[in-house]
Amino acid sequence: MKKEIISFPHLGDYSVPITYFLTHTTPHEIRPAPKITKQTLELGSKYSPDYVCIPFKYNLGNFIESLENGATILLQAGGGCRYGYYAEVQEKILKDLGYDFQFYSLVDSDHFTVSHMFQTFRKLNPHLPFLKFAYYALLTLLMIFYMDKLDEIIRQNIGFEKKPGLFRKTKTEMLETFSHTKGFLSLTRAYFRYKKKFQRIEIRSKENCLRVGIIGELYTAMEPFATYFLEEELAKMNIEIKRFTNVTYLLFLKKWKTRGMLRKIHRYCYYTLGADGMDNVYRAKYLIEEGFDGIIHTKPFGCTPEIGAIPIIDKVCKEEEMPIIYFSFDSGASDTGIKTRLEAFYDMIQAKRGRE
């Protein structure tokens, strides 16, 4: 079989486990899309429909850059809202641009089945035994789970570190170690080693700091600010952050939790609102009950599930007098504007804390 080059768009740091999985199950070369820059978004917006949501533009930009980089096979996932339909439209747009490549979507519409995944990987590697596929799939899932666990520690503390850059340096090290994992045992050992390391990093005292929860759409929560932009900005103002959405949640927890969540917020939601809409209402309620000082809601412009959820979240927050700020990102979002709004938000929650 001819040696091909596989590529896929970015989502946070998850390119590491995906690359790991693909190198072990397929004979092809793996080359994740180049790092996201301003250029990526410009390229993507140029060829996307006007009023599509922003993850589409990022992904398309990623694809174009990978194709320029020599990729011959592209992978795309799917699910949730219109995300499931991305794959086909992107394939069409790229084919119309004149690129020559093969395109595989791992998830068909909303149905995530192991057999479908296996069939797709059989196309990439006809001699792939199922046991090997299952082994590496489990290992990759465990890796994602550990990554999310460590990420939680990082996000809570990164703004408070005494020596700037130490968290990031350790994280790069960690990803490097993870990408050379040999098996379940070595992965688990590495996880505990790095957990200790992260916990030992010296941080400023968090006395009297304000606590803020970030809810909202998955992609904006992870990707455009994968560099911990919001965390650091907020930490400068002495604010600690709690985040919710990650891949672990989407893959394992969401299915289990849905019914329980619905029961708890029965007053506001009888039904799920599509994608993460209902989850966000629940999280807002949870943050209020836990005594947080404020909520930040992020979403891309025109995200339909969130548009349905925001009026309800607004109502929850109004009833409980909880400060909340909404950020809607489109291709023109600038750091300065966000900073100004964050400062105003900070003043508000500070004043509220003072009053109490």
């Binding site: 069409k92 979507s105 909303d110 799920t272 609102l273 548009i307 349905g308």
Partner: protein
């Protein structure tokens, strides 16, 4: 006993299910109030109750609900999650009931269709009737009669459209889009009125017989899973041989349309124009675009006939 009055907002899926809704409540012996055609006031009113990023039909819907609030006992809403296994609709329809309930302090009558959870249309209509306090046998009969009436009306409209296709020699244009865009007074009415004044035969995408939608829509997009957009695609495929041009009507910022229309524009070979309508729209700009589109179609038709002679 006083009759129960039920308000039906004339927006969103009203245009698709009006026969079913109206007939069902008539059979039950309820009084029905239908909100008037959309106008600027209703839109302005609706904008207050929903996020400014929400789509135009959603804003209009909220305006209609607001209009009905103090005129009836219940306002009818719905929640549609899944009409067919493996398919979906826009998430706005999933959130609609909870959205209304949280925005307005009013008892809403609603039904929920979610095939994956075994909640069919009949089941949810009966639940809705029980909520009003009717005996379930009566509700079931009312539902079945209404459904039969709906099917009858649908077939009548289908055959009307087929007649236009067969007989007329005039210019034919397919107006494709969601029914709540095509027939709404603020969105599509102006367009269809203008085109009819020009002596053009209009075909509507929602009057397409959905029997062959699976086969037809797959010719444009094999993996599309939005039920209503599938019907639009199907209608375009089945009519594209017979019409002279296609007008794609959509509103800003419709989620499913943003992707599906891209597929349509990239695959269909007929002359096609996309009209994107938002709340600040002026009719003059629209009419100019339509004029030039009609001119092009006329020229093409003349050229084609000359060649044939």
């Amino acid at each position: 006993m006083n009759k129960i009055t039920i308000g039906i907002p004339k927006a969103l899926l009203y245009y698709k299910y009006k026969d079913l809704w109206v007939k069902f409540f008539e059979n039950l012996g309820c009084e029905i109030i239908i909100s008037p055609n959309t106008n600027r006031e209703i839109l302005e009113e609706g904008k207050k109750y929903v996020l400014d990023e929400a789509c135009l039909p959603m804003k209009i819907y909220m305006g209609h609900v607001q209009y009905l609030l103090d005129k009836c006992d219940y306002v009818l809403t719905f929640r549609i999650a899944c009409l067919k296994r493996g398919e979906k609709v826009c998430t706005n329809f999933m959130a609609l009931y909870d959205l209304c309930r949280n925005t307005f302090e009013k008892r809403f009558l609603h039904y929920n269709i979610d095939i994956t959870k075994r909640e069919t249309e009949e089941f949810s209509f009966i639940t809705m009737g029980l909520e009003l306090g009717f005996p379930w046998r009566k509700i079931r009969k009312a539902y079945r009669d209404a459904k039969a009436y709906e099917t009858l009306m649908k077939e009548r409209r289908y055959s009307k459209q087929k007649n236009i296709l067969g007989s007329s020699k005039k210019l034919k244009i397919l107006l494709a889009g969601h029914p709540y865009n095509l027939y709404d007074n603020l969105i599509g009415k102006e367009i269809s009125r203008y085109l009819e004044e020009q002596g053009i035969d209009l075909l509507y995408s929602d009057l397409y017989d959905t029997k062959y939608v699976e086969i037809d829509s797959k010719k444009i997009s094999p993996k599309n899973y939005f039920t209503y957009n599938k019907e639009i695609m199907g209608s375009i495929v089945s009519y594209q041989e017979d019409v002279d041009g296609i007008i794609l009507l959509t509103t800003f910022p419709c989620g499913p349309d943003s992707l599906c229309n891209e597929m349509i524009v990239r695959t269909v070979q007929k002359p096609l124009i996309t009209l994107l309508i938002d709340e600040l729209n002026s009719d003059a700009g629209l009419i100019t675009r339509l004029e030039s589109f009609v001119d092009i179609l006329n020229e093409r038709k003349n050229l084609h006939e000359e060649r044939n002679h």
